[in-house]
């Protein structure tokens, strides 16, 4: 499938927990131009919040590195269908040794912080596609695709 990028933004934020709310609000405000439902916006905010929190809690556990957040509005060229919101959250932190294990619901490497181990489960169930690329010591890139059944147009 071929996509055209209709609009996009990119921002860099330090891995401070105050920025969790900022990051999810930014993506939510960007997505608002597609006139999404309240439910879809909630899905997007929760998924972004999980991805950014992972960077803060895990990737940069011992330092405050930078998180790159990219969002794009993609339109499928082949036919006149609903647009897709593309979200990419990238860090240059410690990386994930075992991605499949990290994605297992309730698995967490962070017991003392009361983390539920549901971050990837939320991302996976609230978006249409989740892709995780990681290299130990180099960082992690999480990419999510969310189809929006817009009511406008």
């Amino acid at each position: 499938m071929k996509y055209t990028t209709k609009n996009h933004f990119k921002m860099m934020i330090p891995a401070r927990s105050q920025n969790e709310a900022f990051a999810r609000s930014a993506v939510s405000a960007f997505a608002a131009q597609l006139d999404p439902t309240v439910e879809e916006l909630g899905d997007i905010k929760a998924a972004v919040s999980e991805a950014v929190t992972n960077c803060i809690v895990h990737a940069y556990a011992d330092n405050i590195g930078m998180i790159e957040l990219v969002a794009r509005i993609l339109q499928d060229d082949s036919h006149d269908s609903a647009p897709t919101l593309y979200i990419r959250v990238k860090d240059k932190g410690c990386g994930i040794a075992d991605i499949e294990r990290a994605k297992t619901p309730l698995f967490t490497t962070c017991a003392e912080g009361e983390r539920a181990g549901l971050g990837f489960a939320v991302m996976e169930s609230f978006t249409d596609r989740l892709q995780v690329r990681s290299k130990a010591g180099a960082g992690t890139t999480v990419t999510m695709y969310k189809r929006l059944e817009t009511r406008s147009e």
Partner: protein, 103 residues
């Protein structure tokens, strides 16, 4: 922010605002202070005032459950709607939800 109603036997903690990794530790501290002082038989976590919740809310619920179990107390969830409800269900904690539907 947490609005606490404490009758001794029962504590109701009404969480107001967002529950994420950033806010969870403050909410946790406020509730645990009451739990430790009162050791109630029952804690009701009221999500009616929650504007946003991610999986940090599940950590908060499970963590309080652990505190309560240490002195034989129990916990229930009230007024979880929208995404709070969706995430509670995803976590398999539907059994903790009580109360008259969406209210």
């Amino acid at each position: 922010m947490v609005e606490i109603v404490n009758s001794g036997e029962q504590v109701t903690a009404g969480i107001v605002g967002d529950i994420d990794h950033h806010t969870a530790s403050g909410i946790r501290t406020e509730i645990d202070a009451v739990l430790e002082n009162t050791t109630p038989q029952l804690l009701i976590l009221d999500f009616g005032g929650v504007k946003f919740m991610d999986s940090s809310g599940i950590g908060l619920i499970l963590g309080r459950q652990r505190v309560l179990q240490s002195f034989g107390g129990r916990l229930f969830i009230k007024n979880a709607t929208g995404h709070a409800e969706k995430i509670v269900k995803l976590a398999g904690l539907s059994g903790l939800m009580i109360g008259g539907g969406k209210g």
